[in-house]
């Protein structure tokens, strides 16, 4: 049996859960699949999951699970997993999964394979493909032992629309767990968004994004000129915003904005997965990088290997002809 841990916030299901279910169906290969959903407001998303008919939905609606804490989730899920004994526990590789899944794996002494992009085999015999060395290499990994494992699936690696819905809704069963509130050590406050300026990169038709290859803040005008010539918005990968060269709201990637413009031009961006998840849906992607092996070329439609400080001015000149 494959057990998917769904994710919800304020009663709204995280879309990446559907991707995790699609991956879990591939792992289950017709064997049983169950979906667990946790939280006091899990009722509505439990119904939504049940309607897809992919397998029995286990709703754990204990009040101690709201708001989310890693301690609370691990207490609940350790009980669930120890009694259900799934072959594989499947999750989407979200920030929340990254927060609690390693603790859960350590508590259960089960392997955890993170950021998985591919599956070989099924059930307990499965091996998993995941990026290593910033995406420069792909590793095929085999979990040790015979007790099953936990797996997180990279966002976007499995398609939610590949999910095979059942012909009839699945049953929802309410599952009780024992949670000692005093054992929950984190006291979270309400999530908030920082005050944002009026930059909605999601609306931009064209984006020119810069990465470490720009080398210093003084060189930013090189990219700005290209953005102007292409009628594009300027954006950046995380390290550029970390260094304070561009404001955080211009950051593309898992911790910033997700965009899918008509044209995305990546200048000196190596293409760490955290960046790729934010832009790989773009219609046309151009990568200009001095390193021919940079992972950005794996998602690019057009690539130029070379010095951006020579190529970008030539591009601007060409566009202004």
């Amino acid at each position: 049996m494959i057990l998917v841990i769904a994710e919800q916030r304020d009663g709204k299901l995280n879309h990446a859960t559907w991707e995790a279910i699609a991956a879990a169906q591939q792992l289950a290969a017709g064997d049983a699949l169950r979906v667990a959903i946790l939280g006091a407001s899990a009722g509505a998303p439990a119904q939504e999951l049940a309607a897809a008919g992919v397998g029995e939905v286990l709703a754990v609606t204990d009040a101690a699970l709201e708001p989310y804490t890693p301690d609370g989730y691990v207490l609940a899920l350790a009980q669930l997993i120890e009694s259900a004994k799934p072959d594989v526990v499947a999750l989407a590789h979200t920030y929340q999964a990254r927060d609690f899944a390693p603790m859960l794996a350590a508590r259960l002494n089960l392997p955890l394979v993170t950021d998985v992009t591919g599956i070989g085999g099924t059930g307990r015999q499965a091996t998993f493909t995941r990026p290593m060395f910033q995406g420069k290499l792909a590793a095929e990994v085999k979990p040790a032992g015979s007790g099953g494992c936990l797996v997180t699936f990279q966002i976007g690696a499995f398609r939610a629309d590949a999910l095979k819905k059942g012909s009839s809704p699945s049953p929802v069963s309410s599952t009780a767990v024992t949670i000692d509130r005093a054992a929950i050590r984190q006291k979270p406050e309400a999530p908030f968004q920082e005050a944002r300026q009026a930059v909605d990169l999601g609306q931009a038709a064209r984006i020119v994004a810069v990465g470490r290859g720009i080398k210093s803040q003084e060189h930013l005008p090189v990219a700005e000129q290209l953005a102007k010539a292409m009628d594009a918005e300027l954006a950046a990968s995380r390290p550029i915003c970390d260094s304070g060269w561009l404001p955080m709201e211009r950051q593309i990637g898992s911790s910033g904005q997700t965009v899918a413009p008509k044209l995305y031009v990546a200048l000196g961006i190596s293409g760490a997965i955290q960046h790729l998840v934010g832009m790989k849906g773009s219609r046309t992607i151009v990568a200009i990088n001095k390193d021919a092996d940079a992972p950005i070329f794996e998602v690019a439609d057009y690539g130029i290997v070379g010095d951006l400080f020579e190529i970008v001015p030539a591009l601007v000149a060409e566009l202004e002809k």
């Binding site: 064209r206 911790s255 057009y302």
Partner: protein
């Protein structure tokens, strides 16, 4: 405050991957190594906390002899002393083994706060810090962008802190938690400092205590094969001089892709 910061040594960003004969690990002799970047932010944060609240920063690493280089660098940037779980097998260890190795070396030190980077730039499991917290029996929080230590800590009141977690899509959340605790730090939490000549000289006199790897640690996962990733798209590479490449790219963006 007694602060531990865990750092890893990873291949440099410029490193071009080359595989060992059996294709289950890299040819380490070809690689040059540096401090894992997220860990550098954790180190910087630990130094800032010590400057604000006093105490000691102990830098901890689990790895082969080569990791002395990054431990020495951390000492040059201002850490007070170092713990090194020294074993050749740790170069390719998974998160379970790394965390168990660190936990064994760190348990007796009774740190108030343990910081790690949020993941490593080599294997990138993103697990070691959180597993270490569980092994040390302390609470954790991850992907932290700010740390506020409760000033009343130590004066009879239970020590605690408030940390700012990064959530997805530009959302954040404050979380209060007791000390001791472990935090995984997000890159960009601060501006990094670099070692001064004075720091480099001072580091030579600082202690790096070697600790043996506990016997019998079993990996939780095995790398069956490493390979260059499969390309998901057929990328059209454009060659020529900068001017030629620029002309050809603009032509294709206008005529083929209709993106301009």
């Amino acid at each position: 405050m007694k602060i531990a910061v865990c750092i890893k040594q990873v291949p440099t960003r410029e490193w071009q991957p080359r595989l060992r004969e059996d294709k289950t690990w890299i040819r380490e002799q070809d690689a040059s190594f540096e401090m894992n970047e997220p860990d550098a932010y954790a180190l910087e944060e630990s130094l800032r906390l010590r400057e604000k609240h006093g105490g000691e920063v102990v830098v901890c690493a689990a790895g082969p002899a080569r990791v002395q280089q990054v431990l020495r660098e951390a000492l040059a940037r201002g850490a007070d002393r170092a713990l090194h779980v020294d074993d050749e097998s740790l170069g390719s260890a998974d998160a379970f083994v790394s965390a168990a190795a660190l936990a064994a070396a760190m348990a007796d030190e009774k740190f108030d706060l343990v910081l790690t980077g949020l993941q490593s730039d080599d294997q990138g499991h993103g697990q070691t810090g959180v597993i270490l917290a569980e092994r040390l029996g302390i609470p954790h929080s991850t992907i932290i962008m700010e740390i506020q230590i409760d000033p009343s800590a130590g004066s009879g009141q239970a020590a605690g802190m408030r940390v700012k977690r990064e959530l997805e899509g530009g959302w954040f959340q404050w979380v209060a938690m007791p000390l001791p605790a472990l935090l995984t730090v997000q890159s960009g939490i601060n501006q990094l400092r670099y070692a001064t000549l004075k720091g480099i000289m001072a580091a030579k006199k600082k202690e790096i205590r070697k600790v043996a790897l506990p016997a019998g640690l079993q990996p939780s996962q095995q790398i069956v094969a490493l390979a260059l990733p499969v390309r998901s798209k057929q990328t059209q590479m454009i060659d020529g001089s900068p001017a030629e490449a620029a002309r050809e790219l603009v032509r294709r963006l206008r005529e083929e892709a209709r993106a301009l």
